[in-house]
């Protein structure tokens, strides 16, 4: 056993290395569960993906949560959390509608940009309070969750945004597809790829992991901790803002309940996708798969004959199973490493 451990990774054949990586990958495990779920549900009812509506819903419904889960991952990786995303979503969704009402003929691209900008500013407020106040993000974003929703609802008052308030082209985004793939899904996937690339490759992204692994060490080492944490919150806010615009396009109406309680779903999606709540590890790919799984279960349950009232219970079991699995794998890895170390010591 220790032999295989002590072999330099590069000394193993390439195919075997790849296989090992894939088998250990949390993302592959979640993807497998997701595929099995889709497969099983489709066997029960072909309409689940083979009808045009089924295929579109399969792809478009998770897009919103996907955006939030990606943003949440960036924040959780730095050992923080952003509970205010649901309120940011509601606020920007209403802002989107207001823009169309107040400025008829405003280009849709501008609305997308301004929605993200508003979200980014709200995220910047979170980040600044966390980074400069040296206060835990849980408390700050719990406070801003109330504040942003309060602002949203006082601003909206008793009026709500209806489909008739928004231009047809914008609403068409919610249904339009390119090569059978919904536009909103493409937006979400582009964001996913960009943020994934940033976290995986860019220096700033790697430093987010370093900060989350050990904030004190990162500071002593001289990483720009304050700036990076600010950036993480700005990304999360901007993506929640984008999700708000997407929400308006997809549903056509914005009422006071927009984005209510979705923050815990976003954290849940990240946790299912293997993002450690202690920071320092996890990928946006995993979180995105987690979001897909959460939403797809919701739609699959009634088809396989379980009332969809049980959806949240299933989601809860999934989250708990995911963190228990993480724990078991960590313990096994630790044992193997300790065993390997002891073997080296005794043979030396």
């Amino acid at each position: 056993m220790s032999d295989t451990l002590l072999v330099e990774p590069s000394a193993q054949p390439r195919s075997r290395r790849l296989l090992g990586t894939l088998l250990r990958s949390r993302e592959i495990a979640v993807a497998a569960v997701l595929l099995l779920l889709i497969l099983g549900t489709t066997l029960k009812s072909g309409d689940f993906i083979f009808s045009s509506d089924g295929w579109r819903n399969l792809l478009v419904t998770p897009s919103l949560l996907l955006l939030l889960a990606v943003g949440q991952t960036v924040v959780i990786v730095t050992r923080n959390v952003d509970l205010s995303v649901g309120s940011i979503l509601g606020l920007t969704a209403y802002f989107t509608g207001r823009m169309f009402i107040d400025n008829p003929g405003i280009p849709i691209v501008v609305v997308f940009a301004l929605g993200m900008l508003l979200g980014a500013v709200l995220g910047l407020i979170n980040g600044a309070l966390v980074a400069f106040g040296k206060v835990p993000a849980l408390v700050i974003t719990l406070g801003t969750l109330y504040i942003y929703r309060g602002v949203f609802l006082s601003w909206a008052g008793s009026d709500r945004i209806n489909a008739s308030d928004m231009p047809r082209d914008f609403l068409a985004l919610g249904t339009k597809t390119i090569l059978t793939i919904p536009v909103l899904t493409i937006i979400a996937l582009v964001v996913l790829a960009a943020v994934g690339y940033y976290l995986h490759t860019a220096r700033g992204g790697r430093e987010l992991y370093a900060i989350g692994s050990d904030p004190d060490a990162a500071k002593l080492y001289g990483l720009p901790v304050t700036r990076r944490v600010l950036v993480a919150f700005v990304i999360s806010g901007a993506l929640a803002g984008l999700a708000g615009v997407v929400y308006a396009a997809r549903y056509g109406t914005v009422s006071s309940g927009a984005g209510l309680n979705i923050e815990l779903q976003a954290v849940g999606a990240a946790v299912i996708g293997g993002v450690a709540i202690f920071g320092g590890s996890g990928t946006v790919w995993g979180a995105a798969l987690g979001a897909f799984l959460l939403i797809t279960i919701n739609r699959a349950l009634p088809i396989v004959g379980i009332s969809d009232f049980w959806q949240r219970a299933v989601v809860g079991v999934l989250i708990i199973a995911a963190i228990v699995l993480d724990r078991v794998l960590t313990i096994r890895q630790e044992r193997r490493l300790v065993a390997a170390r002891d073997e080296v010591r005794t043979s030396a």
């Binding site: 050992r79 923080n80 959390v81 509970l83 309070l129 106040g133 040296k134 206060v135 835990p136 993000a137 849980l138 408390v139 700050i140 719990l142 406070g143 801003t144 969750l145 109330y146 504040i147 942003y148 929703r149 309060g150 602002v151 949203f152 609802l153 006082s154 050990d214 904030p215 004190d216 500071k219 002593l220 209510l260 309680n261 815990l264 954290v267 849940g268 946790v271 709540i277 202690f278 920071g279 009332s307 009232f309 049980w310 959806q311 949240r312 219970a313 299933v314 989601v315 809860g316 079991v317 999934l318 989250i319 708990i320 963190i323 228990v324 724990r327």
Partner: protein, 362 residues
């Protein structure tokens, strides 16, 4: 966040110096600041807000904050150990549904159904406690999972239907006043009993000292003979049982058992606890501050409603209060550092705060 993992910021360490006299130490605490703020708001409301000082206003104020006050008691202790319980509102919903289903479908009397509901709440808490204390999982993640799970079971059992057929004798009891015409509802009696119990447990028993030790440094607590796992386990059980009690109150007060009862209550409870001066890092906080924090939220809501503000503005004020109250510690530390000219003293040479705290459950 899982608090045991965060580094402790400068501001959180402003423990009063023990060389100062007792009265000066008492004046410098967060609890005292919240109590003063509560008194100021109360004074303003009774003198300037029309109808605030009527017995009816106070009566509804207490009815409204009773579930927050109840659940805040065990939540305070959970947060002082450096953990958190997000699943309490789901336990409220589940126990509410249990009372409804057991009464309607199984034909049990209300006391019997309530007893079983409390047992179910305790089991919910025990499951949280087992996963956190013995399996060593982060409480934030565990209780996000059980938040969905317990709520899911509650909603799954009843769907969108509600049980509303409760004997009037019991629904009236939840709304009854202690003395006819007074502003104190009956629900304050079980709360006060629990308050005395929790004050004794947290502030006057060795169990309570262990709770603080765990929050400050759980490894050190272990070496001084505190059973860290068992303590955390029981705290989660308490949180579950008390949440179930709040669920029974919810059911009877509104005469309705629904799966989505008390949705989002967990964040209100946590806001009250943190406003009351409990540190999210663990290790610091006291029940008199938490009670004042919960009542402060109730008084502000009630006074602002009477002045014609909507729930939305109230949310902004409560959120801002929460942010300001936690920022004030950092701000005061910064001010005192500037005043004493020690700003440069934060050299990287000293050990980072929080060093020695366990960063991951082993």
């Amino acid at each position: 966040m899982s608090t045991a993992t965060l580094s402790r910021p400068e501001g959180e360490r402003t423990y009063p110096s023990y060389s100062r006299p007792l009265w000066r130490r008492a004046l410098l605490t967060r609890e005292f600041a919240i109590i003063v703020l509560l008194l100021v708001v109360l004074l303003y409301s009774t003198t300037s807000v029309p109808n605030f000082d009527s017995p009816l206003t106070m009566y509804y104020l207490f009815l409204d904050i009773a579930p927050i006050l109840l659940i805040a008691l065990p939540m305070t202790m959970v947060i002082i150990t450096g953990e958190i319980d997000l699943s309490v509102a789901s336990t409220v919903g589940l126990s509410s549904v249990m009372v409804g289903v057991l009464h309607q479908d199984a034909g049990l009397s209300i006391p019997a159904a309530a007893a079983i509901a409390i047992l179910v709440g305790a089991v919910c808490g025990a499951f949280n406690g087992f996963l956190v204390a013995y399996v060593g999982l982060p409480s934030l993640a565990v209780t996000i999972g059980t938040l969905a799970l317990y709520r899911g079971i509650a909603v799954g059992m009843l769907g969108t239907t509600a049980v509303t057929d409760f004997p009037e004798k019991w629904t009236d009891l939840a709304k009854e006043r202690i003395v006819e015409g007074s502003s104190y509802p009956m629900v304050l009696v079980p709360f006060l009993v629990l308050l005395v119990l929790f004050v004794w447990l947290l502030h006057f028993s060795s169990f309570g000292r262990g709770v603080y030790e765990i929050g400050l440094n759980d490894e050190a607590a272990h070496f001084t003979g505190v059973n860290v796992e068992l303590t955390k386990f029981w705290l989660f059980v308490l949180a579950g049982a008390v949440s179930a009690l709040a669920g029974i109150y919810y059911t009877l007060r509104y005469g309705s058992a629904r799966g989505d009862n008390a949705n989002g209550l967990e964040l209100q409870v946590i806001a009250a606890v943190l406003l009351g001066g409990v540190s999210i890092f663990g290790g610091r906080g006291a029940l008199h501050g938490v009670v004042a924090g919960a009542i402060l939220i109730g008084v502000i809501s009630s006074a602002m409603r009477l002045e014609g503000h909507t729930v939305n503005v109230i949310n902004i004020v409560i959120g801002a209060l929460l942010v300001l109250s936690v920022m004030s510690t950092s701000f005061l530390a910064w001010v005192s550092a500037v005043l004493s000219g020690r700003r440069g003293a934060r050299s990287p040479g000293r050990a980072p705060d929080g060093a020695g705290k366990r960063s991951l459950p082993e």
